[in-house]
């Protein structure tokens, strides 16, 4: 017994940390299911300016992945690459490879509309269509041809609103304008709208930054429920939020992915000094 202990002590300090990391990673990957989405060496350019440099990350299925980092670090840009929302930005170029279930989403034969049908998105500012609540949640199913009969449409509307935890609040005014809802309700309506087309992945770009703490808590509860069926990637400014909701966290810093790991590891035992400084509040 003593002997063994001695041998352990002879190990270099670095090795010990390396082993700890390995065990953490392997432990985590055991609990993780399959990988839904992968980014390999993704770089994004706006004209001559490089916004992202060589980002690689695996997104695990039916988990919540949080992307954190200081303002302007590129986390939203990266998120928008995942459903090709950057396509519409003039002068934006994406290099590298992003795969969804092993399929390159930037391949020429990929239909952007179908991709966005599988990768939904919720934005920072609640942006319901200036139509009725009902019309908001049935728009997606209608244009994607998921709902053809009036019964289908109503069933989808009710199911989406229920999944987003909004149905009870709005069931008496489904045909009232969506813009009349409160900010938190509007954001949940946007989530209902996004999940109305049964996406496999939901991208959330700082979905709570315009909301008060109570509305934020409701959205976070909702994310926990949605995680049962949907892979969620959330960009957030709030480290508390990332630690509360996510299983995996990626830390962005000035266009590079400084560190990625389980949320537990990133927050309790960050390896990269920049991550440590950010999490302990030394900058950001």
């Amino acid at each position: 017994m003593n002997y063994v202990m001695t041998v352990d002590r002879t190990d270099t300090h670095d090795n010990v940390i390396g082993q700890m990391q390995k065990s953490l990673v392997s432990e985590a990957s055991e609990s993780r299911t399959d990988i839904k989405m992968t980014a390999e060496g993704v770089s994004v350019f706006y004209g001559d300016k490089q916004a992202l440099d060589d980002i690689s990350i695996d997104i695990h299925s039916k988990q919540i992945t949080a992307l954190i980092g200081p303002s302007g670090c590129g986390k939203s840009t990266f998120l928008r690459c995942l459903n090709r929302m950057n396509d519409v930005v003039d002068g934006c170029r994406v290099a590298g490879r992003i795969t969804l279930d092993g399929e390159d989403i930037y391949a020429t034969n990929v239909d952007v509309v179908s991709l966005r049908g599988q990768v939904g998105m919720v934005f920072q500012k609640p942006n319901p269509f200036p139509k009725s609540i009902f019309e908001n949640v049935i728009y997606g199913p209608k244009i994607h041809g998921h709902a053809n009969t009036q019964d289908d449409i109503e069933e989808i509307a009710v199911r989406s609103l229920k999944s987003a935890g909004l149905f009870e609040e709005v069931k008496d005014r489904l045909h009232a304008p969506a813009t009349g809802l409160s900010g938190g309700q509007q954001q949940r309506l946007c989530i209902a709208r996004a999940i109305s087309i049964n996406p496999e992945i939901l991208l959330m770009d700082e979905p709570c930054s315009a909301l008060d703490p109570i509305a934020t808590a409701r959205i976070e509860d909702l994310m926990w429920e949605l995680k049962e069926n949907i892979t969620i990637i959330i960009v957030t400014h709030s480290m508390q939020q990332a630690s509360r909701v996510s299983q995996q966290t990626g830390f962005f810093h000035m266009g590079v992915m400084a560190e990625v790991g389980t949320t537990e590891q990133i927050f309790q035992n960050p390896v990269d000094p920049r991550t440590r400084d950010y999490i302990t509040g030394r900058f950001g």
Partner: protein, 421 residues
């Protein structure tokens, strides 16, 4: 204790009071000018909505009219009613037998008097043989005399003392009436002020605006949408944009010349018609509509576009499902303002010949026609006293339409504002 520099405070307060006074003064000046304008137009023009008539007992004698049964509409239109009306007037004055005197007496009546009888006969073809009481218009000079626009005596009076006596006798006999002038509202233009109507010009302007709207609204929206949503940002599109903005400031007479050169001379479209008028006016309104539409498309929140795209809508679907419905009120407001501008536009219509004298109310946009602003221009040029009130009344009519159109624009704007809130 709050430290104040008394002098500075006084100075500042005085400056503010002065500035307020300037504002109130300029507002008062503008309001009084507007009031004076409206007052002078209305006080000059309201009498044009009335005209004086004289009641005559007309014996409807088929032989006199020179028509024979069956009384077809065409035959009745061709009939001679002049002597019929005149003899009815002479019957009022049995003492007047001299031919020259009788001719003078007949000048009390408008040339439209026989037309009034003709219209009655056409409406009642079974009334031949009977004597009817019918009101026929007085000639313009006596109409103006009744309205006290002309003096009874003095220099340059347009009637003889004897005519005045006859007129006074008719007045005393209670045969002269002051009636609402339907012919002014619904009739066409005429050489005689008492018969001239604004109806032909209103219908002509309506057709021209209709053509203008049908052309410029879809074209304007399509152009604005393409430029704002789809066009690549190249040097070419920037040049096009700059030129559209410049076009809005081009004098309208130039569009008229363009219409003359292209629509009339190259395409050979019929001259003086609301069709060509509307096409020329649409050249003028297009830049206005494009600019208004682009502004309202640009003001649609980008969040809505992103939401649409993220829901898997194609760029065209995003535009048609989300952007245009939100931009539509602004577009409509711009369109109505553009049309209101076009309604008052005279110069381009002069260029394509809508200034011709047209006595008919146009039935289709392909008939030669007058237009409201041109009608005002024509009447303002006429020498007869009777056209002065017509000019003012026509201005009242065009202003009424302008106010109506602007009201519609305001209603659309406020309704959508409350909807967004």
């Amino acid at each position: 204790m709050i430290k104040t520099n008394k002098k500075q405070v006084q100075k500042r307060n005085r400056a503010e009071a002065r500035f307020r006074a300037y504002g109130v003064l300029s507002l008062l000046a503008a309001a009084s000018v507007l009031f004076f304008l409206i007052y002078s137009i209305v006080s000059n023009g309201y009498t044009a909505f009335y005209r004086t008539t004289v009641m005559l007992d007309v014996e409807l004698d088929a032989e006199h009219i020179e028509v024979t049964p069956p009384y077809s509409r065409d035959a009745l239109m061709q009939g001679r009613y002049s002597s019929l009306v005149k003899s009815a007037l002479y019957a009022q004055f049995p003492g007047v037998t001299d031919r020259r005197e009788r001719r003078e007496l007949s000048r009390l009546l408008s040339p439209g008097a026989e037309l009034a009888v003709r219209d009655y006969v056409i409406d009642h073809p079974d009334s031949f043989g009977s004597t009817i009481e019918i009101e026929v218009p007085l000639s313009s000079d006596f109409d103006q005399l009744y309205k006290q626009h002309l003096p009874r005596s003095g220099e340059n009076i347009r009637f003889s003392g004897q005519q005045l006596q006859w007129y006074d006798w008719l007045l005393e006999a209670g045969r002269i009436h002051y009636r609402f002038n339907m012919q002014f509202l619904f009739g066409g233009d005429s050489r005689y002020p008492e018969l001239a109507g604004i109806g032909g010009a209103v219908v002509g302007s309506f057709y021209a605006l209709l053509v203008c709207f049908l052309l410029s609204f879809p074209l304007g929206i399509a152009a604005a949408t393409y430029l704002e949503e789809f066009a690549p940002r190249t040097r070419l599109t920037r040049i096009i944009e700059a030129n559209i903005n410049n076009l809005a400031a081009v004098p309208s007479v130039i569009f008229g010349l363009l219409g003359l050169a292209i629509f009339l001379n190259v395409f050979g479209l019929p001259r003086s018609t609301p069709l060509v008028g509307g096409m020329v006016l649409s050249l003028m309104t297009l830049p206005t509509i494009i600019i208004a539409t682009r502004a309202s498309i640009r003001s649609v929140s980008p969040g809505i576009r992103q939401a649409g795209l993220a829901m898997g809508a194609s760029p065209v679907q995003v535009v048609f499902h989300h952007v245009l419905p939100v931009a539509l009120p602004g577009t409509l407001t711009g369109t109505i303002i553009g049309l209101a501008q076009a309604l008052g536009e005279t110069a381009p219509l002069l260029m394509i010949g809508m200034v011709a004298f047209i006595a008919n109310v146009p039935a289709t946009p392909l008939d030669a026609s007058a237009a409201l602003p041109v009608q005002i221009f024509l009447w303002a040029e006429s020498a007869e006293r009777g056209f002065v009130e017509k000019t003012s009344a026509a201005i009242m009519v065009i202003m009424m339409f302008l106010i109506l159109m602007n009201l519609v624009a305001v209603v659309i704007r406020t309704r959508t504002q409350t909807k967004v809130e």
